[in-house]
Symmetry: C2
Subunit: 477 residues, 2 copies
């Protein structure tokens, strides 16, 4: 492990990160709120960053996978710690503040605030901004903007971007990152405009756009989207949640009049899953609501959960047990590769199902070669094996976390759903962490385990888990 190199990169990330605080400072100015809540962490980032930078001139510039993992894994941790200072400034318990910030950057959306209306506007803005930044990836952003980092971008990106692999829409990585971020910016502007047009305040439009496209789910109202009671707003958010869970490369191509999404295996499976699951839940809800209401609630809520956004227009914890179980399962499916959504990812679930089917056939007739196709190409066996290994590890982490969380005294359904909602970066769960509750009442150890799950889930297991293996830190291993 080239520690100097890791510290060097981390210090750069923290220095760049300090710039981000300018935005809530401007908002605080506008609303006449205290700017020190953001000036303090900003100065701290600059101070710590420059000290570390000057103490860590790296001997060599060769960043291997290992170094990339350490930079991205620890980068997210440090940013979540430094980003929690504004909450602490406003008298939030440090563990709660860390939980909220990790929940922000990982676009989980699990909150420890029972009533968010009492928070200062600038803090609500910061809360939304963490999700917007985390959605596309903090490191991707810096890679896109700052040439100094983009040299080693490939290694870093691979450790941060969700899904099977980074799709290069341009030969150069930095160009790809810039184009993806431009797409993200364009959609952000478009959603703000639409929400504002349909009657949201400008402040709410901005903060909700931040948390829709990033499939984050933080709202500036405790009732979430139910607060607005506005079908047009729900429709806009519905569409942008679906976009948030879509591979941004496909959206970029669409904006350039390339309709590849129509033939994309993952996108078609993604839309099919949303429609089927919503329809099933709609039917299950027919004894609870009249038809039109059932359609409205079920389609919004199902999409919100599967894209791992976590907005609510209705308390789905009051639905039937089969609907609640289905909701839990959808959390694990999540969004598409290269989207801002969490979970296992649609492409993996698709390939996992196809691989399982082919394994059944192969077991009964070993000599016959069974192939799995994706976007008209034969999928390499190695990729399929990696996916089953990923899935197995994902389930192991889920099981161990659930047991650990339950040992802190949580009940059965709360333990299962809290881990599902955080590991998959969804937000609200069932029981004590249900749609109309918050994570405030959980014991501190449970909050730390769940924050760990958000971190592990967002960076897709390996980046974070490898940090905990002693051999990882050894020079030669």
């Amino acid at each position: 492990m080239n520690t100097r190199l890791v510290v060097n990169y981390l210090s750069q990330i923290i220095i760049y990160f300090s710039i981000v605080f300018i935005l809530p400072i401007l908002i605080a100015f506008y609303y006449n709120e205290d700017v020190f809540a953001y000036l303090i962490p900003m100065s701290l980032c600059l101070f710590l960053g420059f000290i570390a930078y000057h103490l860590s001139k790296p001997e060599s510039e060769i960043a291997k996978y290992k170094e990339g993992y350490a930079i991205v894994g620890l980068g997210w941790l440090f940013v979540s710690i430094l980003g929690s200072i504004p909450y602490i400034y406003y008298h939030t318990h440090p563990v709660d503040a860390f939980f909220e910030t990790m929940s922000g950057f990982t676009t989980t959306g699990a909150t420890i605030f029972n009533r968010v209306e009492v928070l200062p506007k600038s803090l609500l803005f910061w809360r939304g901004l963490t999700q917007w930044l985390g959605g596309m990836g903090i490191v991707v952003l810096f890679v896109a903007i700052f040439p100094a980092l983009s040299k080693k971008g490939e290694t870093l990106l691979q450790a941060e971007v969700p899904g099977l692999k980074v799709e290069k829409i341009r030969p150069k990585l930095r160009d790809t990152a810039i184009r993806l971020y431009a797409t993200y910016m364009f959609l952000t502007a478009l959603e703000i405009l639409l929400l504002y047009t349909f009657g949201m305040s400008l402040f709410d439009s901005i903060t909700h756009t931040f948390t829709t496209l990033s499939t984050g789910g933080f709202s500036t109202h405790s009732e979430s989207i139910a607060y607005f009671q506005n079908p047009a707003i729900e429709a806009v958010i519905f569409v942008f949640m679906i976009l948030g869970g879509t591979n941004f490369a496909l959206i970029y191509l669409l904006l350039n009049r390339n309709f590849r999404f129509l033939k994309d295996t993952e996108f078609r499976f993604y839309i099919a899953l949303i429609l089927i699951a919503s329809a099933v839940i709609c039917i299950l809800n027919l004894d609870r609501y009249p038809l039109t209401q059932s359609i409205r609630f079920s389609f919004f809520q199902t999409t919100s959960i599967m894209t791992t956004t976590g907005y609510t227009t209705v308390d789905f914890d009051k639905w039937s047990d089969s609907a609640r179980l289905l909701i839990l399962v959808l959390m694990f499916i999540g969004g598409s590769t290269g989207s801002t959504g969490g979970g296992i990812k649609v492409a993996r679930i698709y390939l996992l199902s196809m691989h399982s089917l082919s394994q059944i056939l192969k077991s009964a007739e070993p000599r016959t070669a069974r192939i799995v196709r994706f976007n008209d190409e034969i999928v390499d066996k190695e990729i399929l094996n990696n996916i089953t290994a990923f899935f197995s590890l994902y389930i192991l982490i889920f099981v161990i976390s659930t047991l650990a969380v339950s040992l802190t005294g949580l009940d059965f359904i709360t333990s299962v759903s809290a881990v599902s909602a955080t590991l998959n970066n969804v937000g609200p769960g069932l029981g004590m962490v249900g749609a109309s509750e918050s994570y405030a009442s959980l014991p501190t150890p449970a909050k730390l385990i769940l924050a760990f799950d958000m971190w592990v889930g967002r960076l897709e297991l390996f980046t974070v888990l490898s940090l905990f293996i002693p051999a990882f830190w050894r020079e030669r291993w």
Copy 2:
């Protein structure tokens, strides 16, 4: 698919199966009960068997994997249907009778009888006997005894025996099967003797031995082992449950003064898991029972669940939620390869964990070769890939079954635990199917789904699942 061959083998299995009914007929004679309950299915087996046998002289004798799967998969289904006739004779609903028989042969132990004391002695005997037969495998038994079947034994055995592969303790398959069955018989005689010595009636000793060694868990008392309130009996059953969950090849070797079990990776991991899990549950139960009672209940109950026996000395559904969650997880671990236990199997869980660990390391440093060892040998990558694929498919079946069962109207915890308890061949679950309840009150569709899960779980997925793929039945595919 060589249908004639499949029908030919199936007819032989059914003919041999008819012989089994002689035992309950003798018991019925002894207790002055109705022998027709067993004479009818016996005659039916002979009649159907001989007709099918004479209509299906096979053109070729070559049994491929496919044919082996069809023979074993359908063999277990037919035996469960024909074996349910005695229950139907005694006025049990056919679906319930089928559920109970499938639960017997698959050594699940889930029962639809609220009170078993009202059943005739011969039926209780038959109920236990189905588990004893199912424990080592029905087809293995016939392969061992009847030379006509042993020619194709290898293919059949592979489809029936749990775990990674059939361990050949003798070069000839039939010799291996005979030795394993002899070990089983010896342990059976030993346990009957011990239980009788410690105060059980001879009838109870026999029926409980049938269901201990097979890790089945049917009892002749509704209170299960709690009925006896006898620590010595609990101790004997505790030891034989552990033996039932052990690879019988190791026990055979031990009886021949070969102490290979001491160095066996799976056996050591198996014992370690039982001890650790029991100790954890013992600690969790300290606020419920005094220390000695907590040790007694926790060690017995944990072992009963992990070996997938399903006996109860205490209603574990009343334990804390973390203990109940741990119990659910243990169900999935199950017994050892080549044992009578169900679940995913200890060896697979061990290799899955080691493989996951090596994957984490490999992802951060791809050039380094990471190896997994088992019994001092390097495990082939292909085996590891098969295990992750098996695990993934297992979880998919679990999730789909849970959703399906919940759609019949069962609550959250009942759905999750009923599928866990049947897919892993354990027996009692939580909630409506808890330790002091039965499966009687479930809706018929739920019973059929759960019976399917027992069948799929016992034959380790592929054998049964392939029967449901249309391509499997085609001549060429």
